[in-house]
Structure formats: C-alpha cells, structure tokens
Amino acid sequence: MARILLSRRRLLPLIFAALLSLASPPVSFAQGGAPDLSQMSIEDLMRIEITSVARREQRAADVAAAVFVITADDIRRSGLTTIPELLRLAPGVDVAQINSSKWAVTVRGFNDLSANKLLVLVDGRSVYNLLFSGVLWDEPDVMLDDIDRIEVIRGPGAATWGANAVNGVINIVTKSSADTTGVLVRVRGGNADQQAAVRYGGIAGASRYRVHAQWTDRAASLLGSGTDANDASQAITTGFRFDRVTRPGELMLEGALTAGRTRALWQNFDPQTATLEPFSRDPSEAVGGHLLGRLTHTRANGGALQIQGFLDLANRDEPLADFSRRAFDLDTQYHATVGGRHDLVAGLGFRAVREHLAGHVGTTLDPAATTASLLTGFVQDEIALFENRLAITLGSQVQYDSESGAGVQPTARAIWKGLPRQRLWAAVSRALKTPALVDRGIRIDFPPQPDPSGLPVFVTTFGNPQAETEELVSVEGGYRIEVGTRGSIDATAFAGHYDHLVTQEPGAPIVALVPSPRVLVTTHAGNLLMATTRGFEIAASWAPTDFWRVDGNYSAFDIVPTRAAGSLDVAAATFDASAPRHKWHLRSSLSRGAHATVNLSVFRVGSLEELRVPAWTRVDLNAEWRFTSRLSAMVVGQNLLDEAHTEFSGARALLAETQVRRGAAVRLRWTFQ
C-alpha cells in the first residue's frame, strides 16, 4: 500500500506526507475488547489479519491543502455501489443524482451534469472529458473492492495536476495486486440495483496479478408523478492489473473493457414537426477501454523516476449525439530530496486526444472532430524550515494546449507543524479551465417555448470559436487538531475569484413567418461573467470507544456573480453555481468484534435555488455480519426517509427531472485463498 503512495502522482510530496492525521481514533482493536498484542508472540502477530490501514489516521495531517481520504474500510461499510455515491462521504463534495445512471458531482460549486471544474483520476489516468469538459460518472466502472482509497482534494490542484483541476481533484487509487490474491465473489440484489462481481488474484514468480469481471444493473428512477422513469441501465466490465516488483524498479500494467447501456428521459425536440417530443426512450450505448502502464525506478539515494503512459478509447451513442474519444498520454516525473531540505518533484507530460461528435436532433458540432494536443511541465519544491516545523511548497505548472494556447498555474503553500497534534496551513493558487471543444463549436436548437405574444419562441445556442480560458485565483487556509487520543477536527476556509466564466449572450429576437410564425432567439457563448466564492468546510471524527466511531462534516458555500460590462446574460446575474449554501453529513459505525457492524448515515443538503430543487435529507442504514472470515452478508437500506426525492434538475441538459427512490438490498461477499 505504501508502495502505491510512493509511486503516486504529483501532489505526492504533499499527499504522501500525510492523509488525515486527524481522523484518528488512533488505535482501535477490531477485536472489541483489548487483546494485549504485546503479550503475543511474533509468530501469532504474523497470523493476524489486518482490518484497516492507517493512511487515514496519519497521513493527511501534513498536507498544506484540504484533503480527505475515503478508505477501503469506509467504502465497505458504506453499502454504496458507485464512485459518485461514495463521494457523498467526503466533506465539501456536492453529489446530486440526476437519474439512474447520471450524477452531478463537484467541489466548491459550479455543479452540472458535466461539472467542469473537478478533475478525476483513476490510478493516474484522467477520466475528465475534453469534449464537453466533465466526467461521465458511469464511465469509470471500477470494482469497489479493488479501491485502496479515494483522495479528495478540495481547492485548486492545477499546479500539480494541470488544467481543469480548478475546484478540486478526485484521485481514485486501486490496490496493488499483491493485496488482492485469492478469489472474491460478491453478489448484491435489491430493488434499486443488482450487481455481481468476481475477482481472482494470483502469484507468478515476482509478479502479482488479478483479473475481474463485474456486472451491474441499476433500476429505473421515478418521475415526479411516481411512475417509472424508464431509465434503467446495465454495464459489464472486465479488467486486470499486473504488478511486478523487481530490483530496482516496479512495473504496473492495468486495463479494462466496459460495455454499458443506459437510458434517460431526454426532452427531445423534433425540428421537422417543430414539436417537443416529451421523452426519448432510446438507449445510450457505450463501449470503452483503456490500458495503462507505469514504471517506477527508485534509486538508493531515495530519488524516484516514474514513467506512465495510457491509451483510452471510448464510443458513446447517445440520443443527442454520438461521440468518440481516442486519447494517448505519456507522463514522466522525477522525485528527489536535495540537501535534505528540499523535496523536489518535476515532470513532463504529453497528451493527444481526438474527439469526434456527430449530433442528432438539434445538436451539431463544428468542426465535428478535433485532435487536441497538450504539453505540460511542472516543478514543485517543498522546503523544510526551522527543524521541519515549517514547510513551504512552491510550484507551478506550465502548459501549452493546441486549442487554447499557453497557461501558467502556480501555487504557494505553507504548513506550520510547530505545535504538537496541530497543523496550520495556507495556500494561494491560480488555476485554469480550458474551453471544451463544445464551448467553441456547438450549436443546439432548443425546443420551442410558449411566449405571451402567442408565438412560439425558438432558442438556438452557439458556441464561441474564440472561447477564453476560465481563471480562478484562490486563497485558502486550514487548521487541524487532534483532540485527546480519540477525536480530531479539520477545518478549512476558502475564497476564490473567477474570471472569464462562460455566459450565454442573447442576440436581438427576430420574428420569422416561414415556415410558420415564430420568434427566433440566438445566444452566443461569451466569457463575460466574474464571480467571487467563499466558504467553509469542517470535518470531525470521534471514536468514544474502540467499537464506536462517529464522523461528521459541514460545508457552507456562497457565491456572488458579477457580469462584465456588455453582458446581456440575465440569468448569469442570479447564478448560484447550482450548489447548496449549507450541507452536513453524519455517520456512525458501531462494530462488535470483527463479526458485526451497524452503520448509520445521515445526509442533509440545502436547496438549489436556481434549479428549484428543495432541500432534502437522506438516511442510510446497513448491517453486516461476518459469518466466517470468508463469508459476510450485508443488509442495506438507502433513502429510508422518503419514497423518493429530487436531487438535481437535468433541465439544462434536456433531461427530464427524476427522483431517487428508496432502496433495499442484500450483499453477500465471499473470499478464499
């Protein structure tokens, strides 16, 4: 596990210095009472099975950034089945389910079906889509048992991860094959989802490997009327990972193939009849695959060279458009300590992405295909001062993008470690969001809307071939403290200033008489919005006893938009970033030995004013029994409070509004060597 941390990507020096010292109920025996391990022989110690890894307890403390880690143990206890759902556990992350297979996920505002200011990586592979800027959350179909941890970094990570890591970075790290030997079979059945997964991990000489397959079926969500939204989805994924540890390097290869079918209730516009077809029931078909290789070479002086490359292919046929992606990425980095005081990381990267979009009803992209190439370089130095009590990190990313030109994304960070069990940190950063290809060349003909004049109004939206890069300058600071040996608090405050945000600038309406009387309104994308955001995030953890643990968090967010002179986008004046002003989460985990755990989660999310989504509360409850060390069963209840509730509105994406329903499921998990 530590091996993965060391080979991890860039924020590394920061991250693997730490991951949440805070959340530490420092020591807990899974064994209920307190068997005295000091009285056990070392032979016995070597037979003990490790229940959880202390990354969470220890490592995030020393990072001069707002970091939260979702551990493998959290994942297992949550009873959740998808990555976006798991992100609900982290403070400051806005997660809203749009329909059965679509989520809006962001950090610190600007949420949408494709929230464009959050970068997401799976084992160092970006799953952020450059075509329309954002993540399709049904794409990374990772087997959750394989995940070692999910690192959630709030705030700009652009100096280390590059463009589009504006509001945050989600880093999904899978386990080394050395930690997944043997057979695992997991089946889950319920009214909201069904899943079956099989994994086999083996050993061949100095190599470890695993192969897995997973099948998922998600039931339809509900319409407001309580009827079935007919948006059920299915996906099947098969993948492998290979790890070879030889002197003096490590090789990792990893790949997967996914095929999925999703459905959604699109609000479909037919230009021929000029009518709004209420819903399209056409399924979306997606196939995709990737192959990633990483070579790490560690020198005796501690310096480490890492080379990573990946290929990523995807095809999606959606009712609105068919699109495809071919991406190639090569990345090198070197990490070394210089003079004992400087911890240096430097890297170079190249990426080429070919994106193609063929629009259907009402949607066209010009040009239909683009090959974008991206060249990046970054350097970062963490300087230890005053006997390691103060660490200052200076770094910057410099990039050249064939579509949007050059950009510089620097950061300066400091953390004070002078007081025991307390940390104080601050950071100033600049981050850029490059225009998506659709921001430049899209044309969407929206369904006609009735108007008081009696004539139907037809709105057509155009992209902007001269679209500008959006910019954020952010200031943040945080304080962490361990309270006694069983509690911890991690608080962060931030303020950000955004410039050149995308607006829709309307042109003058035109009355047309042919083919029928109508009002035509066109809008062109502009970059005429500024905004100031500020907010506060606090996470606390308390383990009053060895068998009971409580985690909680609260986030507040506020945005003040300011239109630049000349902007006619009226809606931009009331832009609220589609993020709630307040939200909190509380979870309790009660265990009795290694044999039973009961987990209760409460999520409270404030209203989304602009989208007119009322505040909602969600309660999940689950219990797991371990019949033997190999077989366990979990009973899961989700959304227990209400029959169904709305979390987001898909209106801007031409999606019908659906509701997340109450769910119950049973999960069986069986492992053997």
Partner: protein, 190 residues
C-alpha cells in the same frame, strides 16, 4: 377471529429466531481469526523487535528508548502496547524526537515512510550506530535501514537487511531472523 401478530405463536417464534440470528455474531465475537488495524500491529511488531534485539552498550537498569518519528497514530498505538512494560529488567520508554540529532540516542527508531525520503542523510549517519532502524517505507531495508515492515496477503511481514544489522553492531535473536525475510545490501524486498 382476531389475528393480531402479537397473539400469533408463529410471530413469537419468528421474533425469537430473528433475535437469535441478530445476537449470534455479537455472542460469537471472541471466536474467529484475530484481526487488528495495521498501526496496532506495527506497534506490536516494534515492541517485539525491541524484545529480541541486543544492544552492546545497554547498562543494567537503563531504559530502552523506542523513538517514533512522523507517525502520531503509531506513537499512540505503541504507547498503549508498551505502556508499563519492561524487557529483561529494562523499562520501555517511548520517545518522539523533534530534532534528527537526537536519533542516535534511540535504541529502536521507527520512521514513518513519509519521513524516510527526506531523512536519507541523517539515516546514513546512523549506519554504524547501535540503533535498530525500522520503517514501513517500501525499499527501506534495501536502502538506508535495517528492518522493513510490509503487508502481504493481508498479513504483516518484515524484512531484515543482515548486512546493515551487522554494521550497526546489534544482534537480533535467531528466532526473529527465522521469521524475517532476510535480505542483503542491494537485494530487494518483494
């Protein structure tokens, strides 16, 4: 013909059965394989290393100084494990050195993997000192240290660099070495 659940014998039976099923795992908590978190295990291993090591210059009555650097969770776990314990008449004293110059006063020195990289120079100065250096940093025993803790198949394992051990002038019991993955300089832990 009231068929209220409470009066129906089947319901009572079902309730008893359900209660029994629910209670079973709780009652059976002390059985099954032993499980523990990795910090707790590492702390217990560290304590055992202290138990099976011999220092050339340990005076009678002198405490064994176990130093923990860069891992608060580990320190808390070790404190709990070794609290009030003594090894062969030597009290076990946990220390958390703030400055690296104090490291040579330790008998056992645990350094978190996060601290190893920036401490390569300091560690190399301890090469011939009677300090049993331990870490969970990958490659530690191959590089600058003596004992490396690592996880394999969900169990804690350890590797000992026998060359580094000899340079330090320390002795580890053969029982301990028998359980270790023994490596030599430039060898690698797999």
């Amino acid at each position: 013909m009231s068929r209220l659940p409470g009066r129906c014998p089947e319901w009572g039976l079902a309730a008893v059965a359900a209660a029994a099923i629910l209670a079973t795992p709780f009652a059976a908590a002390s059985q099954g394989p032993q499980r523990a978190t990795d910090v707790v295990l590492k702390a217990a291993f560290l304590y055992n290393f202290a138990k099976f090591a011999e220092w050339p210059e340990l005076r009678p009555g002198q405490a064994i100084a176990v130093c923990i650097v860069g891992d608060d969770g580990m320190a808390a776990a070790f404190d709990k494990t070794a609290n009030g314990q003594s090894i062969g008449g030597h009290a076990v004293a946990m220390m958390r050195p703030i400055v690296t110059s104090a490291w040579s006063a330790c008998h056992v020195l645990f350094i978190a993997d996060t601290e190893v990289r920036r401490s390569v120079n300091e560690l190399s100065m301890l090469r011939t000192a009677p300090v049993l250096t331990v870490s969970d940093a990958p490659g530690f025993a191959r590089g600058s240290g003596i004992v490396e803790l690592y996880v394999e198949g969900g169990r804690m394992r350890f590797a000992v660099n026998i060359d580094a051990l000899q340079r330090s002038g320390l002795q580890l019991s053969s029982r301990l070495l028998g359980l270790a993955k023994v490596i030599r300089d430039r060898d690698h832990v797999e």
